[in-house]
Subunit: 464 residues, 2 copies
């Protein structure tokens, strides 16, 4: 216990230095989905490699067809000391979107004191640089105090999580030995509230589909043909608005056929959680559609979803243009639950669209393989160890929660490596994740680092 | 008659030189709706000023809050010789749109021999540089032969027709004396077919509306809130798909209340024209919706239309982005017929949308004043003179046609200056107007110049 106190004291003492270094990481524009972001990705990978090497890790930057992965191993001396632990985080960030919607520049991190807390505004401040930074700093302080870890540590930092993790499946297949471990901590999830920790034991599957509707003509003058020829925007709008019924259900034929009901016991837990959900309170749900018969929290965590993430067609401005466009495109994502196969959902969606395409028009689809939903037992010893560790820092119960989000990696780890995946994290839906003015706060950054110290201490106790 | 033959001979003899100079004009990227196009606009205005000055015109480039207008007058010696004629054209062009959809570069005019004709590919090759070039070259050759015109000539060349003619109303008001004339030839319309000329005696009114739907939240992570919070793309799609009913009618309450029926005699003429319409045959109408009870030609020329010209919301690519966007925008245009007031249509549209906005969401509208529809009597002596002139060149009947397009200028000339507006031109819907690979052909360019010579000859005969 005195060693743990030494670790916590060091974390407290180095709080400012830790923050200053975090700001440096946030300054690097590591946008993975934009080809222009490659330089930022390379810079961030290099920065992290130096950081981990300086901590005594054996670090490799693994080049892929996409963006590089960072793979780090602790000293061989940790072998046999306890469970082999893999820490996962991602250093890439979402695109900025419309820069003029940001109050603070996305890659010049700005600290703003707001009431009792100090916010850090920057792209990636929350999702997900704060997350990897928390376990890196804990591991650093832990090692300085103990000279070793509670078991062999592998760190895996990904550079294309926000752009679909295209290189990850092949990487995992070819690096099974490098990744061999007993438990993976996937630090990419959220707390229950700013003051209450959580482990995410249910994740949704994810499937992206891009659908482009082509009219039989190229772009034409809308005055000349507008009242009579096919308008892809009108047709696509009709298709999109037919995707949900009035009960808030997805109207694709057979969409719910394979869906497993939320287990009754879990539903009861979730319903009690619904009553005070920081997550739900952080948004205005008016104008939304919730599937009939479910609470919003049940709908997010336990029911499959279809969202339209983007639409583009014809004139994009700034001025007016009397064009009847040749095509229009929508970007759609599905969030899947237990029982649903991405390939089946994709086929049903494509059939739904194809059946409704007017004569003479043509539809084109693009989409990846997608991932399945994943559930972790609350009885898992690592789930319990992590829960206990976080409870010691936050002095309140750790919530075992679901998520509307997806971490395809967790499915791969569990399928290919056969390991337990513990999904946790310290971000909040109210951090403006994926949005302008994304932010985090210095208090959470500090306490997340302390939380990991307690978690490592719990892991250490497991072997005793 | 021998003088006319001299004019025609000169036009024939200078055919290549005329084409070479036209290509120079096409090289200037005079895009009016894009702020980046200002340099091209200025260059085109300067080029045309020099051209007209060289022809003996008194030329002014009139600066406006938008793009400059070119105003040119022939020598005072033409006073009293015959009807005062105003020639209108516009030297600005549509934006390029997606440049990778062009086979030929939009501002490096490319001549391609295709069967019997030689096509000129360039933005503006058809709409509308070919049009102003036709009367400019005729006037030049006519003056070289005759030393004068059949009456005083004013040339007005606009630089922002493709971006809404915002400066034109004020210009016309303040330049009534400069524009005083007996007839305006608005050279911005199309032929009936590649071999048959037309005068456009009916034009539609035009109203643009931009509608933005705002959700009650900023951009959010669609995994976190996608299944429950308002999705502006979904809501906007629903609104857009509700704008037409299954009969192909616009579903806005009261939309048809003020619409004047197409006169029975005119309908009969149009129905006979429908049987062989080059215009209609130039596009594939499958997938379109034609108002029940009307032929496509009647729908285009004589029935009001609502077109969606653009839509934008959320992720625009290239990669995937799990965003639930804060807003989505559609760009809509109305083509109005006799009886409809733009302000009334706009209010009805806005009411239609406002009534259907879900609680918590907000809608924002932007739009100009719009213009009314316009009709010209077939008995008008200038309509008849122009028809006769074109028949002499094309050796076939001149069709008096309607249009689905709009020329707000014609309404202004007729309202403010009280003059007859004769709308004619030589372009074709199949020229890929407003679209990639816009083109014209050298034969039409040549014959349009000859056509104007016959028209001037007919005007000259009117005074005799």
């Amino acid at each position: 216990m005195s060693d743990l106190n030494d670790v916590l004291s060091r974390i407290d003492a180095e709080r400012e230095q830790t923050l200053a270094e975090f700001v440096q990481l946030l300054e690097i524009p590591s946008i993975s989905s934009d080809p222009a972001g490659s330089a930022g990705i390379a810079e961030a990978a290099d920065w992290l490699k130096k950081k981990l090497s300086g901590m005594g890790f054996d670090v490799r930057v693994v080049v892929t067809e996409g963006h590089p992965l960072i793979l780090a191993h602790s000293s061989a001396e940790d072998e046999g000391r306890g469970p082999r632990m893999l820490f996962y985080g991602h250093y890439d960030v979402q695109p900025v979107g419309e820069e003029d919607q940001w109050t603070y520049p996305p890659f010049k991190p700005t600290l703003v004191k707001e009431g009792d807390i100090t916010r850090i505004y920057a792209r990636g401040a929350s999702d997900s640089k704060s997350q990897l930074w928390s376990f890196i700093e804990t591991l650093r302080c832990w090692h300085l105090v103990h000279g070793c870890f509670p078991g062999p540590v592998t760190i895996l930092l990904e550079g294309e999580e926000e752009s679909g993790s295209a290189s990850l499946p092949a990487f995992i297949e070819t690096h099974k030995e490098d990744l061999a471990c007993d438990v993976a901590f996937i630090c990419d999830s959220d707390m229950w509230s700013p003051t209450q920790p959580a482990v995410t034991t249910q994740l949704k599957g994810l499937l992206h589909e891009k659908v482009t509707l082509h009219a039989p003509n190229p772009d034409m003058h809308s005055g000349y043909f507008g009242n009579v020829a096919a308008n892809p925007i009108r047709i696509l709008s009709g298709l999109l608005s037919a995707l949900h019924d009035e009960e808030g259900r997805v109207a694709i034929d057979g969409f719910y056929d394979d869906v497993k009901d939320i287990p009754v016991a879990l539903r009861e837990q979730w319903q009690s959680l619904s009553r005070a959900s920081y997550h739900l309170e952080s948004a205005d749900l008016r104008g939304g559609i919730v599937e009939n018969g479910y609470t919003p929290l049940e709908a997010i965590w336990g029911r499959p979803a279809l969202d339209i993430n983007g639409i583009t067609g014809g004139n994009q401005g700034p001025g007016e243009r009397s064009v009847l466009p040749a095509s229009a495109t929508a970007r759609i994502s599905f969030r899947l639950v237990a029982g649903q196969e991405p390939a089946t959902v994709r086929n049903r969606f494509r059939d739904f669209i194809r059946l409704r395409i007017p004569e003479g028009c043509r539809v084109e689809f693009e989409g990846g393989e997608g991932s399945r939903a994943l559930a972790m037992s609350p009885e898992n010893p690592f789930v319990q160890a992590v829960s206990r560790g976080m409870e010691r820092e936050w002095r309140t119960r750790t919530i075992l929660k679901g998520s509307g989000g997806s971490i395809p990696l967790a499915e791969m780890f569990s399928d290919v490596l056969g390991i337990d995946c513990i999904v946790l994290g310290f971000i909040l839906a109210s951090d403006a994740i994926h949005a302008p003015d994304e932010h985090y706060d210095t208090e959470r950054l500090h306490r997340s680092i302390r939380s990991w110290a307690y978690i490592l201490d719990e892991i250490q106790s497991m072997r005793e």
